[in-house]
Symmetry: none
Subunit: 551 residues, 2 copies
């Protein structure tokens, strides 16, 4: 039996662009549209025709690209009250967008007709039918967005239905029920949608906002009630609390309700699509986003890791790879021996046959460090060193005799300069160096490398990629403990390290030392193995699979 | 008619602590528990007894605090297979936590019994009933968390029900249906919950995860089906994609379903509770969180603003002030002038009759600073100084000639010491001081006050209450820009100040200077006004409304 087909209508470029802090360039819109087409959505709402030049530029530019599958849609409103369709400049812009499909929104809530439009219920219906009929005459595929449909239905069901019927009689190809304020409950959505599906002969769509935190569920409930067209945005971006997140809606429809949307093959690219949109918009990805977030298949608690190892279904609602995501094991004080062992093997420092008491030593060391404020989830490099230390496999590549950092602000121009000196003992020799830097940690980093480079030239390939600071007890103010996490890269892999101290400079120093030791250890292993075999890379494992046999 | 009462069970400190990147200190747990008690939740699940020392320390520490309303709950599992309850060390830890209530989780899914516990269906039921009976004998209020209930119900409804019945027969005070994998659909939750509510005579609770993005809706649907006890976490923190977010669940139950949870008065503190939890955990607040996010009631300029002005209901599903949030209008440059003016008046530095060009100067200065990375939302103190500078009303209380900070680590014990020297010119005199500190910023803070105290003894009442660091361009690593926000208090009010620099010490210095100037200006104003009238306090205005006339 063929699965029922649900039309996927993306409005990232229009409703998504209403989100606070979101702003597309025309080039960004083009890229996003091409990506959505490749992913396989049916419709791409490109912008609000006539509302700004950028959207009109997009409609004109996108015509040059042959799309594989998606149809571009221009969005606009019904004609204004008391105006003729032909004289309405916004409607003329909608046509000027030259898209095959258009969506117009109209009022379905009597409160809006009265208080916002300030016109009569009758004129509002005429505005809807005149506009739909005109656009059909102009050869467009026409969708009618019934704005505030669910609030309108609660206030006056027969008027809300009349608005839909006006659109249908005028020839609308589909009507879309909107929860514009985003506050409807799932049961309300289900009931109203079912009533509409039963009453009308055209396809019914759903467009909801997330103000109650229920946009995904409301979309799913509307589909259960018979809606066959879903609207939403990538990552749920949109005004206020966002729109329905297509990254959560589509896999639920496809994997849990047995419906067809973009297809299972395309869904394997879901996480990539999500990352792509965040990258274009320079948004920080939401690590706990359903299906596509970095944490979505991360297991931290000891028993969970253990169970997932025995049977993935035991703690995973879908297979991570089906949505292009991966399973991750996190180590923390909540971890049991199994996760620590798995992680250690991943990092090349554990052995599958490790003795139980060894792993208990590692776990005890981990708990001791975490109690002091260390955190290893984003610091695989430091975790590896911790394991080596606990197993007495660690040997330092150098000994610190001392460092000094000076930050000084003075003189006419009041420039702030930082200088660090570092004294270390390496292979029996003492080395003392100094370096300036942009800030104290940068100076310290430079001085340390300068001191080591004669002995270990390979550290010249390492650079710092990220630097994060958390204050652990903010209430103790500047005397609080500071946790520094550093991400380093040698172009081949990246690794995280952590330091904790009451002194931010000392915390940074710890993380810097771990970073260097991680690199030196890796190179030493490589040499031992004849340079051929690559040592397992912590960076590659930042989010790597530790798959159980059953997965 | 009195609204039906729903029991609110918070598990932020237990299940929330499973979230990636979340780690509570014992002190943080105590603070959060006291805050939850003040907010009015019924139960606070404090931790997993026996799994780690921190949670046991919490249970022991919290006993010293008299709670107003909440009952502390210890969490643990049923006895192990083939073990006697009295010999089970985890159960003994659960009792050692000495809480009035305990929650134990047990398996309701045959797959877990077989593949994870690796025991018989019959022994699993005995584990549940033995454990519940034992804990009841020990005088505890006992909740039974039926782990994976919904998956179990789908696979084998009669076995899932048998697990619940085993708990009920043994005396459980309530059974809690868990969607542990977080992938259930709302309709599944509704149907299964309704069946349980009809079959059992004890209160039924609901505990769901957010892997499908439907945790809030699923909780609401369970309540509609008859559940009377809801579990969740503040801000929805929790493993993988999180738990049901109480900040979204509670207002939906209270305002939309006519049920009573913590009560409407308490809900006015909802946003504050959300911010408090993020602050304790040093988490970045989710601006688009339903109800409590900064964007939740934000309207971009244009038709929405216009409509909200005509009738707030037209684009708002609830009143922002009912959940302690506020409406924000994301403004154009012109209306921006109005908001800046209102804010300046609030802080006592603007005049109602301020000229338009003055406000434009302030706005231009604000934009210039924000482009450099400054942020004033949590830094009213610095904003006030910015306004004074832009309006040429600012005069410095001292001039910096220079500072120097030295951080040194050396000697046998490798202690890290920080020393700061500060040279300032005050009222024509030069003052040079030095001070040690716990870390460079603390040393700088002490040296600065020492230098000023002879001239301005009032600064001795000021202490730093909070210190936060953000890295603005993490990809530039240690050479990135750093934003430091400091919160100061003089016991009477608190105020925030901000500094930005490529050098963390210089950024901290800027924020320290603003903090001192804010205090000195305040005292000067007070003296001018005869010491009677209190100058408006920036701290009190942290988050103050700038309401439009229509709201």
């Amino acid at each position: 039996m063929k699965a029922a087909r649900i039309t996927v209508y993306d409005t990232t470029l229009r409703d998504g662009a209403q989100a606070e802090g979101v702003s597309f360039t025309v080039a960004g819109k083009i890229k996003m549209a091409l990506r959505l087409d490749a992913f396989g959505v049916d419709y791409i709402e490109g912008g609000y025709a006539g509302s700004n030049q950028k959207d009109m530029d997009f409609f004109s530019a996108i015509r040059k690209y042959p799309l594989k599958r998606s149809r571009i849609v221009a969005f606009g409103s019904t004609r204004r009250a008391g105006r003729k369709v032909r004289d309405d400049s916004l409607l003329q812009s909608l046509l000027a967008a030259q898209t095959g499909a258009v969506t117009i929104f109209g009022k379905a809530w009597i409160l809006h007709v009265r208080d916002v439009l300030r016109t009569t219920p009758r004129e509002n219906l005429a505005m809807i039918s005149d506009t739909v009929a005109y656009l059909k005459d102009c050869g467009r595929e026409v969708f009618f967005d019934a704005e505030h449909f669910f609030d309108g239905y609660k206030a006056d069901a027969s008027y809300a239905m009349a608005a839909l019927e006006a659109a249908v009689r005028a020839g609308a190809d589909a009507v879309v029920l909107c929860d514009t304020n985003g506050g409807a409950l799932p049961a309300e959505i289900y009931e109203a949608t079912r009533a509409v599906v039963r009453a009308l002969r055209v396809p019914v769509g759903i467009h909801v906002h997330n103000d109650g935190g229920m946009a995904v569920a409301n979309t799913v409930e509307a589909v259960r009630a018979g809606a066959v067209h879903v609207q939403g945005t990538v990552n749920g971006i949109g005004e206020r609390c966002g729109n329905a997140d297509l990254c959560a809606v589509l896999p639920s429809l496809e994997f849990k309700m047995g419906l067809q949307t973009v297809g299972r093959e395309a869904l394997r690219g879901l996480k990539d699509l999500s990352v792509f949109a965040d990258t274009i918009l320079n948004r920080r990805p939401d690590s706990r986003a359903p299906y596509v977030g970095q944490s979505a298949f991360s297991h931290k608690a000891g028993p969970h890791v253990d169970a997932v190892n025995k049977n993935p279904r035991s703690f995973e609602h879908v297979k991570p790879e089906d949505v292009g995501n991966r399973r991750r094991v996190l180590v923390s004080e909540l971890s049991g021996g199994t996760s620590v062992l798995l992680k250690a093997i991943e990092l090349g420092v554990g052995r599958a046959g490790a003795r139980k008491d060894e792993m208990r030593q590692v776990l005890a060391a981990l708990k001791r460090m975490e109690a002091k404020g260390y955190a290893f989830e984003a610091a695989d490099g430091s975790f590896k060193i911790l394991v080596q230390k606990a197993l007495k496999q660690h040997r330092p590549f150098f000994d610190l005799e001392g460092f000094r950092v000076i930050v000084e602000k003075r003189g006419k121009r009041q420039r702030c300069v930082s200088e660090a000196t570092v004294k270390v003992r390496v292979k029996g020799e003492r080395e003392q160096t100094a370096a300036d830097g942009d800030g104290p940690v940068n100076a310290l980093d430079r001085a340390l490398r300068k001191a080591l480079t004669r002995f270990y030239p390979e550290i010249n390939t390492v650079s710092l990629a990220d630097f994060r600071v958390s204050i652990l007890d903010p209430e103790e103010a500047t005397a609080a403990k500071t946790r520094v996490i550093i991400e380093s890269t040698d172009g081949e892999e990246t690794w995280g390290t952590v330091g904790v101290s009451g002194n931010i400079i000392e915390a940074s120093w710890e993380a810097l030392v771990d970073s260097v030791e991680y690199k030196l250890f890796k190179e030493e292993e490589r040499r031992k193995n004849g340079g051929g075999r690559k040592v397992p890379a912590a960076g590659d494992n930042n989010g790597a699979d530790v798959r159980s046999e059953g997965s």
